[in-house]
Symmetry: C2
Subunit: 252 residues, 2 copies
DNA sequence: TTGATCTGCTTGTCTGACAGTAGGATATTC
DNA sequence: GAATATCCTACTGTCAGACAAGCAGATCAA
């Protein structure tokens, strides 16, 4: 082994805090402890600059950081608003696709891993409010079965309700992010004859397991459901798209 | 229902592409199709500005975006380098904590959900190379058991090797991100007498299950392992920290 | 060869400028 | 008086120019 200096680990490159980072951190902290709440408009750039005693360029670079973290949004015209607790995970997941470092197959597999366990937890923890949301989603799906938009939106609601029934916000976020990316693929299988009906039926089975608090059955039903959906998507997309780096655009 | 205009959904606010976004997208695309590869140094700001025919401020704002997405790093002195495929998910996950929208409990639960399934997949798909990595990690853990740093680094290696044995890059990234956040908590339990030894032993059991391609046993062993670790962490941290919004700093 | 000094170049930062535009205030029209 | 047109202001988005600090390579000295 090479000779070792005392306190070897201590010698990391010394970090010079850049002004724009300071500003960004400050703003993030303010959002973190709710001094800036979702919906609030930020002061103008000039005001921020004078308040922080920095140049406008530093403020702007800080704003770009917050923006790309999904914390604020540059509303068409001018002022900024704190985003309504949107999902930073979505962005990163999308980025993986943009960088061609993830395929549909992988994404779907993650979903399966996660959601199978999620539904089991949900079955144990669901409250009456959760059940109500799920029922509503199933109803919406039934009523909107003729409209891809309504149908798929309701589908999303159902799965999100399950995720949220775990009372684990990270799980909910993850599911949200994953579903967002899968959305386009789901549109493609909507057109398979009988597919929406089958999904609806499977949702009912999942729901009934959750209702009974039967985690094990919920798991089984979810596996069935996801396997079928996966099978359908694969059939329609074909192996190429499935294994390639799809760019699932248009957010909802 | 309200009267409905034809093509209702088509009327979304028209998006004006901002210069800095164009520049950022362009650069991201270049990284995406590998025209800029990890390790490459970007041209200087001035050169980018003249090449893209934009002002330096636009370039800088674009760079801030890439930076906060973890695609480039502002190396101490000056020039930029494309980051070595680092993890955008880590950033977002960390952000959730900064914003106090996730607790230790939740994070650990996600890890459990994920890793239990992951180890099962890994048991089915592991190659000889994967096994070698795991063995090496176990050896390192054994030899470094007296040094928290070495021990925990090896621990991380073991779990990452499992994640990568799934051949699913999203799984690997997720695990990496989660572990990064948990790192600090793991340091705290290192000091529990006998804890490292027990972990080591459990790792050996998990490894043997993976070796036998016994997915179900791997799952069981992993549950045992994670439950014990969770139990230890909880005992040390106490319920308060467990349920509070810990900021698990210092990346590794 | 080693060490010191000088000279550009690059980043980080600030300031000033200007076009485009959103929104409110004001004037105009019926 | 209500609806409509017009004007003003202020803010963002963008650029250009300036300057300090620091690094890297070149040059020079020992």
């Amino acid at each position: 082994m090479a000779p070792r200096t005392v306190l070897d680990e201590g010698f990391v490159p010394v970090e010079k805090q850049k002004t724009y980072e300071l500003v960004a951190d400050h703003l993030i902290a303010m959002i973190g402890d709710r001094r800036l709440r979702p919906g609030d408009a930020l002061p103008t750039e000039k005001e921020l600059a004078t308040r922080f005693r920095v140049g406008r360029s530093s403020v702007r670079e800080a704003l770009r950081i917050l923006e790309s973290k999904g914390l604020i949004r540059s509303l068409g015209k001018g002022s900024f608003v704190v985003a309504p607790s949107l999902n930073p995970l979505s962005e990163s997941l999308l980025l993986l696709f943009t960088l061609r470092e993830a395929t549909m197959r992988e994404l779907f597999e993650v979903r399966k891993l996660l959601e199978v366990q999620t539904v089991a937890l949900a079955a144990e923890r669901r409250t009456r409010a959760d059940l109500k949301r799920m029922e509503q989603a199933i109803r919406d799906m039934d009523e909107g079965i003729a409209s891809p938009h309504r149908y798929i939106a309701a589908d999303l609601q159902f799965h999100l309700a399950i995720a949220e029934a775990t009372k684990n916000r990270i799980v909910a976020r993850l599911m949200h992010a994953i579903r967002g990316l899968l959305q386009r693929a789901l549109f493609t299988i909507y057109d398979i004859p009988g597919s929406p009906q089958r999904s609806l039926e499977q949702h009912r089975q999942i729901f009934s397991a959750i209702l009974k608090k039967d985690a094990s059955e919920a798991r089984t039903r979810m596996i069935e459901h996801l396997s079928r959906v996966e099978h359908d998507i694969r059939n329609i997309l074909g192996g190429k798209a499935w294994e390639q780096y799809i760019r699932p655009l248009d957010e909802v």
